[in-house]
């Protein structure tokens, strides 16, 4: 499948039209969605019409920039005017968005073509996409496995060629987890950088909006479009020699699948060979991340869902309902402790980055798990799938730092492995420049 960058070149060379690219995506959806269940709603007619309008505009000399005519999908947690935002839940039955989310407004202005809205873990409250009112989305690499979550349908749509890219949300890892599980790139920007206006919240403290794409260049283009910057050009490549990267081993490499560990170590070795200065450091309170995350995100979720838990509990999927009910029991004093923990963690990640350009950690400790599995065996020990999926991504939702997850080869059975590069807060562009430089080394394992 074409990347956004390649499509843009060919579009402007008149080798392909927006209508043709959109039609190709719609044909892939027609062929694969019954298996993958990536889309909740396909907006084929609107997409065809929008693509033809973009082609007419370009022919008339109106070029909106890198996303002009690009067919993309949207996680069904994000409002699009005139369409339901289901959040993959029966609780939302009857909803129709009165206006576009801020990011959709920006994407329309940038000329993107929306092919449909994608499946997710109900209300983004899960990591596997199994608990959805529309049934589970499936991983294109192996449909018996989860595509990750909560933006599972989004990642599957890109990995299966149903869209050139997609927009997801990330509260504990919901962009990076499915990106890693499906073998694509995912970007969680700095907290607060991209507007969440018009996005159904999970935790207003930790929610992020960001792109999932085929490569880092495409993620850069989408990220800038989400900011309202429609004409950004990708940065020039920078040399890897002299870049300083810190590998976090304590906690982050304590529990890893054997093949994930092997791919991660290969990535580190290749970066060293390419001239990167690699240090090893630790984040002191990393092992408390889960407790900090839970005691902030759960009260946020409980507050949002309190009314519907009381009035229509049967409309939630059972697992999501029970976790939301659990969330209502947390004490205010423990929430305050978690806020103190968040501040401590943020300072520690800031300090780690003071002497380094980026931090490097695996994205998922395990490959995409089988659908329905509650536990997996990792290095001879049984582990909870949910805890494994969140373990390495949620630290940076808590700290707020920008993170790119990119492919780093596959397991012996062909399942994708991902690694994360973490950058300084408010310096997402600088992180993306480093990721662009590292991508040929890391992603060609």
């Amino acid at each position: 499948m074409m990347t956004i960058e390649e499509f843009g070149r060919r579009l402007r060379a008149r080798e392909v039209s927006a209508e043709q690219a959109t039609e190709a995506c719609l044909q892939r959806i027609e062929a694969e969605n019954a298996t993958l269940n990536a889309f909740i709603r396909v907006t084929a007619d609107d997409a065809r019409q929008a693509a033809r309008e973009r082609d007419r505009e370009l022919a008339a000399g109106h070029d909106r920039g890198p996303l002009h005519g690009v067919p993309i999908s949207i996680k069904d947690l994000i409002d699009m005017r005139g369409l339901p935002t289901t959040a993959a839940s029966r609780v939302r039955e009857g909803h129709v968005a009165a206006r576009d989310a801020a990011v959709i407004t920006h994407l329309r202005e940038a000329g993107a073509v929306f092919v449909g809205k994608t499946n997710l873990h109900e209300f983004a409250f899960g990591t596997t996409n199994e608990d959805s009112a529309f049934g589970p989305a499936r991983n294109p690499k192996d449909p018996s496995r989860s595509p990750g979550g909560s933006s599972g349908g989004s990642a599957a749509s890109v990995a299966a060629g149903m869209a050139l890219a997609t927009i997801g949300t990330d509260t504990g890892g919901s962009i990076r987890i499915p990106a890693a599980a499906c073998g694509i790139v995912g970007l969680k920007p700095t907290i607060g950088e991209v507007s969440t206006d018009g996005v159904v919240p999970l935790s207003r403290t930790f929610d992020h909006v960001g792109p999932l794409a085929q490569n880092v260049t495409d993620a850069f283009l989408l990220f800038h479009a989400l900011l309202g910057d429609h004409i950004a050009a990708p940065p020039a490549p920078m040399p890897l020699h002299g870049v300083r990267i810190a590998v976090l081993r304590k906690y982050f490499c304590d529990v890893l699948d054997e093949d994930v560990r092997a791919r991660f170590e290969e990535a580190v070795a290749r970066l060293r060979d390419a001239g990167v200065h690699v240090d090893e450091i630790a984040i002191r309170h990393a092992d408390l991340v889960s407790a900090i995350y839970l005691h902030i995100s759960l009260p946020d979720a409980a507050a949002y869902h309190a009314l519907t838990l009381d009035t229509m509990p049967e409309r939630y999927t059972p697992n999501v309902r029970m976790r939301l009910e659990m969330s209502r029991y947390l004490l205010a004093e423990d929430y305050a402790r978690a806020l103190a923990g968040r501040d401590a963690l943020r300072r520690e990640v800031d300090a780690a980055l003071a002497q380094h350009d980026a931090l490097l950690v695996p994205t998922l400790p395990i490959p995409a798990p089988p659908i329905g599995a509650a536990t997996v065996e990792v290095a001879g020990q049984s582990q909870q799938v949910r805890a494994m999926m969140l373990r390495l991504t949620q630290p940076f939702n808590v700290s707020g730092h920008p993170v790119v997850s990119m492919p780093a080869g596959t397991t012996r059975t062909g399942l994708p492995v991902g690694v994360q590069l973490v950058g300084c807060r408010q310096q997402t562009d600088a992180l993306l420049r480093i990721a662009l430089a590292c991508e040929p080394t890391i992603s060609k394992l």
Binding site: A291, H295, M322, R323, R337
Partner: protein, 47 residues
């Protein structure tokens, strides 16, 4: 409120609300809360 007292009250409330499935989740949450309360970043009025 101690974690033991909190857990006991929470489980009793869940049972009153006919949500016995919550017991295991609340017990897991109690372990997480214990870890959070033992962290050295917490305030202490004696310090």
């Amino acid at each position: 409120m101690t974690i033991e007292a909190w857990l006991k009250a929470a489980i009793a409330d869940a049972e009153t609300r006919k949500l016995p499935e919550l017991k295991a989740l609340l017990e897991a949450l109690a372990k997480s809360t214990t870890a959070l309360r033992q962290a050295d970043f917490n305030d202490d009025a004696r310090r």
